[in-house]
Subunit: 292 residues, 2 copies
């Protein structure tokens, strides 16, 4: 472990020394809490209550201020979690901070974007704490796919268009990563595919899906800052998805949804300023199948 | 359309005649609201506010009283949605009720279990209303898979165990239905499979997945009334899943989760009175892969 983390732990230690001693006489606990996709109104009631009563909140860097503002004035807020190139060390530090605070008898909230058990490493954090005898509670959150779908009016499953929904992170930056993915099973026209953390990889994802047999005319949408005030999205057919995402010039994480059901969103077909030109092929296929 | 529905509409019409006339001077609207998996604390803040301000709530039969209790005393509550053998007629009636109430200027909430856009027919209802010029807003909900996963401490994705999550409804009651499903793509050991409305079909699902190559030792869990006071669950390997679900003797909908990540739930391996005998094979595989 390098110096920056040691320094962080030392700082936290100093903070802890300032806490009232009697706090440590009650048993502490950790709640892994889903912050949802960004809109504070999409927190669950349980999540809001956990934030309101927490002594310490260890939150992902991307959780918006509107959500952190639900914390008590006395609560200590710390931004933890992944930053580029430091993921594994940060995870270790996060684990140790949760343990340290809980052992001091504090009510700890580990606040994670989306749902803690969907691409959130919540399973690793829960296991780590349980192995050390620390009580863990998990409060689910609205995951990005559902948040964005509601925002766009895009049904994730739909009779005649999508019988199932699949949430994936795509790994295709190296040939080995690409070959390890089961693209053929993902290239299923009856499934809506939600691709998390897709911004940098969408070109190779789109290429791999098309190579695996998914129609290049399959409707898709890329969404940045979904459910938040700065929400932006672009629709495109799969064949133009990569260049469309580049035009979006996103700085925040992008969620990509691919599948025939995307054409059922009211924005598909040009009612939105950010839209690609209308491409009616997918909608016609859907209507022929009785789905519109 | 048969008599019972006509009678229902007539009753509603009488109800409407009793409403203050000035209500109809404001434009009405419909919110499709996700009620989540059952625990009222898993409603989103937006959903709770929508319920608190609704004039009329058209709710699925299975939405618990604890959630309906959030409605204003003056709100009219109507149970709609699917009952055995009457699904399509009911859907038509539900659509017309939403339209009728909205045209009267009322704030209508269509309250659906889980998330409106995941196996909820929310897409059909939204399209139907939009085609008639009625404003529709969608408020997402915690879907059963995430609710149940949080309750059981079961990570739906996990490094080394599950790279993706797939939500499906299984259709296998007839040979044609079974043959229409892409079992090979579902039998992916790197994916966690959440099967909705699985109670009556779990025997043929388990059989089809095993026939498509999924290991019969794959861990699974069946959950009835997840996140609610009457929540019950049973763990089992895939090979014993069907008989285990029969023992559960469920009367409510059952959610089934299948995949190596299920073995990471703390209840797997006998800490729960309802458990199958411990079957360490899956956990050993996971530990060998560095996932525990």
């Amino acid at each position: 472990m390098g110096m920056p983390e040691e320094a962080a732990v030392a700082r936290i230690g100093e903070e802890l020394a300032l806490l009232p001693a009697d706090l440590s006489e009650e048993p502490g606990s950790v709640a892994l809490v889903g912050a949802g996709p960004g809109d504070p109104g999409l927190l669950t009631l349980h999540a809001a209550r956990a934030l309101e009563s927490a002594d310490v909140i260890l939150h992902d860097a991307l959780v918006p201020d509107g959500i952190l503002g639900l914390a008590r004035r006395e609560a200590r807020l710390l931004s933890v979690g992944k930053r580029a190139g430091r993921a594994s060390v940060d995870q270790d530090l996060t684990n140790r901070l949760m343990e340290t605070f809980a052992r001091r008898g504090l009510r700890v909230v580990r606040l994670k974007g989306g749902d803690p058990f969907v691409f959130g490493r919540g399973g690793e954090e829960a296991a780590w704490l349980r192995e050390r005898g620390i009580a863990v509670r998990v409060i689910p959150g609205i995951t990005a796919a559902m948040g964005v779908a509601a925002e766009l009016g895009l049904p994730l499953t739909h009779r005649g268009a999508a019988r199932s929904l699949r949430l994936v992170t795509a790994s295709c930056r190296t040939r080995a990563e690409t070959e390890a993915m089961d693209w053929r099973s993902m290239a299923d026209p009856g499934t809506t595919l939600a691709i998390y953390m897709g911004r940098d990889r969408i070109a190779c994802v789109a290429e791999a899906l098309a190579a695996a047999g998914l129609s290049p005319a399959t409707p898709a949408v890329a969404v940045e800052n979904g459910t938040q005030p700065g929400s932006r999205h672009r629709f495109a057919e799969l064949r133009r998805l990569a260049s469309t995402v580049r035009e979006l010039d996103a700085s925040a994480p992008v969620l990509v949804v691919i599948g025939d059901a995307v054409a059922l969103a009211p924005g598909w077909r040009g009612r939105d300023g950010l839209l690609e030109p209308a491409v009616p092929a997918a909608r016609e296929r859907l209507c022929a199948a009785g789905a519109c």
